[in-house]
Symmetry: C2
């Protein structure tokens, strides 16, 4: 029997990737990347620094371009390759990235009158314009439906579905009124490929719905109309136009349309799996299983675990989400994360440009930082330049650097920033274990895990645990491809597909006991700062310092 | 009668300056600067970042070179100028900068065997190698002689006379044993010019002795032999070789020697005033008087006030010193200060080099900072990169920057650092007034006051008080020249000499009420951080954070 392949489509913040994978062994035989055309590197910005949007036209063109390129590459590099050996497709995207659509499921951004209206675009995951609405939703849920918050860390985020929709309702009512409903990017792309965009045919994934839209089968799906209506009557009316049921990634949303088959060269009718978020399918592509923490480390992190449904599981406070089937069908998907990791290093390099362009590159700073011993700089930082997602769930926090002298160098600060993110990572590990979810191994993936051994070593030294790295450099696309393999029947279920198609790199970063001893002490100090500035119940009353500065900033900037 | 001139010699950290001044009107007719030859810009450094020394050979050569150049310039620019119109000399230096000398008063550094021994050099003011000894002296004084500490802020500093001598005793006993006694640079230079270096002829100034060596006429001069002997028996023996009496700057230590007259071209025999610290004579040169706070703003600041002897005056906690006659004879000299101001800006520019050499200059950063409104950046900093001199009197404190996002720019940080130093300045003003010393006007001088109007405006806006700037750009040398004029009899006393010879620049920086309102709120947050990290009695228990980091750093670096 000739080899079978599956295609993973991975929609990121700046580009989309197609990855063609052998279903028997996970071999990645072809890949193609296409950078979005709209905005700045694919992100449409505004005067408000919280605004970040994408144009859905990039989703359409991106699929066509990357699939064609990947197939062409496979033809060149795999002897006898034929596109009809591709048996299934999986899709992962950023999220929550909802877009307003009309009654046919067509993005409003495709209408001429809205072609340049930012509110008619896809509201990218990192759009924080809905801060006030997020607070309102949290407050209302605490009063009316506290159980809605129990599975999403106790606080509804400005990054999420309803915060964005409600902010659109408040600030761009012409767009809100023109929208029949709102669809997550992760759901819209599979629908587009299979011709199931129409709101009554749409299949939505439980990953997006559960983690970002308070969906649960326990309470009949999305939040009820009374609750949404209490936030805004028109939001209550929208409830009837959301789907009654959400699905895990082992379900097919339909077959590839003849039109898309013609555009790409793929066989028509091959199944497309329910879409999910990049991180969650990255967990799948990293071999996630009970006891394994998968950390996807890029501009931010996503930290995931799974627990079999049926096992006792607490409502772990501060986690971003606990959703049945959001990563693997039959398992609770547990999601935590850090709001910024690589973004902090990028800020330091790109905004501060220490030492000028030459000495201030990531490579040079990493070299300098690698020469330092733990504790040698006397510096300590908090990793909150973009707020704190886990365990504080608070956007209104900011960065902190402490211990500077008159001789502090850029490399020392760079290392302190790396260490701060490691302390943030340890705080998440501890939170899992405090609530009975044992972390038996840690598998890292993503750009930073791939490229920066110093970061991995510091993570091992800070946490006192070995750091493993996923074999694939494209775990999200690989996870999507695995979903494609499962819905195509190439494997009976996810565990067997993962066993065949995922693996680890041989190099494991082992903790150095001496370094770990220093970091244990530094972590004690980090936790003091963390609790002093991040928690309201702390005796010291510094909780208001960062928040008041933000208030002043916002007032002054008006 | 032809004009009379007086010469001020100003020994700084990196160079020495000679200033020739008309005694009638303060006109500065000639100036000359010479950079020290030893070490890095005049400072001998070591592997220990706390070490900072100077070679006394630079003091000798510096006097000769600059006096000759200043006289030559006066001959060129002043019609009919003759060197015999110079009637007196005053000297100011850094301090506490003690140097070990032999039984003839000759610096040990001039002996061949000690020519390269760092402990035989002058221990520059910013040498902090004696941190442990300072703590020991503070502790012992608290037990045995608490009144010794009452006039110097309650804590004896590592920058001061006995900390340095005791550290030499502990770490370089061969130097300690070879030294007959130790002399402040401020006393040694006038002695050198007048041939009175011999320890039994030496005249010491009350400025150095009172502010840095716990000297007071109230308890018979320097600390007693029993106390010093309890610290170390050999320190107790040294007590007998220190001078019994210290003097204010209205006393002449002697006449210029024929040898020095020949070397420089000055008339032999003209009186040389008792030496004092640069800052204190800078206060004189800025027109210090009761109610006037003089701020000398350079790498660090010195903040000075005077109160007539006889008026009630509390032991103001946290001040560096309260010494009878240390600034003006007949007045208490009150000294406060910030351990780093310009040094913090220099650190940011020279060590971090944000934006590279072109965009990261003081000029460019100041331009960018000037475009920002108070509070706009959301940043807040502590000005403790070099510890905190007033009001916490604690070297074991470090810098802090808070409020960073992923978009924070170098200019925003630069402004936050300026603001932090302004908050530190306000804390000192408040401390004076809390203890009944009313601040009626503020006169600034020094490099930053001269060169950076943005800093002056921010200081006005933060404090809510007008910022005036001294007319002279060389207030320390001018103050020394005024002392020379007084000992030469050109004026009967300091107030009349100051009236004739000092003044203010026409531009006064007035506080902007709107900016002040924002800064009042920001200062509240600054004080929270100040108290949380800087005071032990604060409930929040962050007091140990910076100190523990320093402990870890020191342990790790060993």
């Amino acid at each position: 029997m000739s080899a079978r392949y599956t295609l993973g489509l991975d929609y990121g913040t700046n580009s989309v990737r197609a990855l063609l994978v052998n279903t028997a062994n996970g071999r990645e035989v072809a890949t193609a990347v296409w950078g979005y055309e709209h905005g700045q590197d694919g992100v449409i910005l505004g005067r408000d620094p919280n605004l970040a949007r994408q144009h859905p036209a990039d989703y359409v063109k991106g699929a066509e371009v990357t699939i064609k390129k990947a197939l062409a590459e496979a033809r060149r590099t795999v002897r006898g390759f034929q596109p009809d050996q591709v048996v299934g497709i999986g899709v992962d995207t950023t999220g929550s990235t909802p877009l307003p659509v009309d009654a046919q499921g067509r993005p409003l951004a495709f209408q001429k009158r809205f072609a340049k209206h930012p509110a008619a675009m896809a509201w990218l995951w990192k759009d924080h314009t809905g801060v006030a609405e997020a607070a309102e939703i949290t407050e209302k849920a605490r009063q009316m439906r506290p159980h809605y918050l129990a599975k999403c860390g106790g606080t509804y985020s400005s990054e999420w579905f309803f915060s964005k929709i409600l902010h659109c309702r408040r600030t761009a009512p012409e767009v809100f009124d023109a929208a029949y409903t709102w669809v997550e990017c992760a759901d819209w792309v599979p629908a587009m490929l299979t011709g199931t965009e129409a709101p009554d045919k749409l299949t939505v994934g439980v990953c997006a719905a559960g983690h970002k839209a308070m969906y649960s089968d326990d309470w009949g799906g999305y939040p009820d109309a009374e609750f949404l209506g209490a936030l805004d009557p028109k939001l209550g009316e929208l409830r009837a136009r959301l789907r009654p049921k959400a699905w895990a990634v082992d379900k097919s949303v339909g077959g590839l349309t003849p039109e898309w088959a013609a555009r790409t060269g793929l066989p028509a009718g091959i199944p497309v799996a329910v879409g999910a978020f990049d991180a969650h399918l990255g967990g799948v592509g990293s071999g996630i299983a009970p006891g394994t923490l998968v950390k996807i480390i890029g501009t931010s992190t996503c930290d995931m675990m799974v627990v079999p449904v049926g096992q006792p599981l607490a409502d772990i406070p501060g986690l971003c989400g606990i959703v049945n089937g959001s990563i693997l069908p039959g398992y609770w998907g547990l999601e935590a994360g850090q709001s910024a990791v690589g973004d902090i290093f990028n800020w330091f390099v790109n905004y501060l440009q220490p030492g000028g362009k030459k000495l201030g590159s990531h490579e040079e700073l990493t070299k300098g930082a690698a020469r330092l011993k733990p504790g040698e700089s006397g510096l300590l930082a908090l990793d909150w330049n973009n707020g704190n997602r886990t365990i504080l769930v608070d956007q209104r926090l900011t960065g902190l650097l402490l211990g500077q002298t008159l001789y502090t160098t850029p490399a020392e600060i760079y290392r302190a920033l790396i260490e701060a993110t490691a302390f943030g990572a340890l705080t998440i590990i501890n939170r899992f274990e405090e609530y009975g979810v044992k972390v038996e191994q840690i598998v890292n993936c993503g750009g930073i895990a791939e490229k920066n051994p110093l970061v991995m070593q510091i993570y091992a030294d800070v946490t006192g645990r070995p750091m493993k790295v996923s074999r694939s450099a494209q775990t999200c696309a690989l996870g999507a491809a695995i979903a494609g393999a499962v819905v195509a029947g190439a494997h009976p279920d996810f565990p067997s597909a993962q066993k065949a198609m995922t693996g680890l790199k041989p190099r494991v970063f082992q903790p150095n006991p001496e370094a770990h001893a220093v970091y244990r002490q530094l972590y004690g100090l980090y936790r003091k700062l963390h609790d002093a500035f991040g928690t309201a119940d702390w005796t010291g009353n510094l909780y208001d310092v960062m928040k008041t500065l933000i208030e002043i900033r916002n007032r002054v900037r008006q």
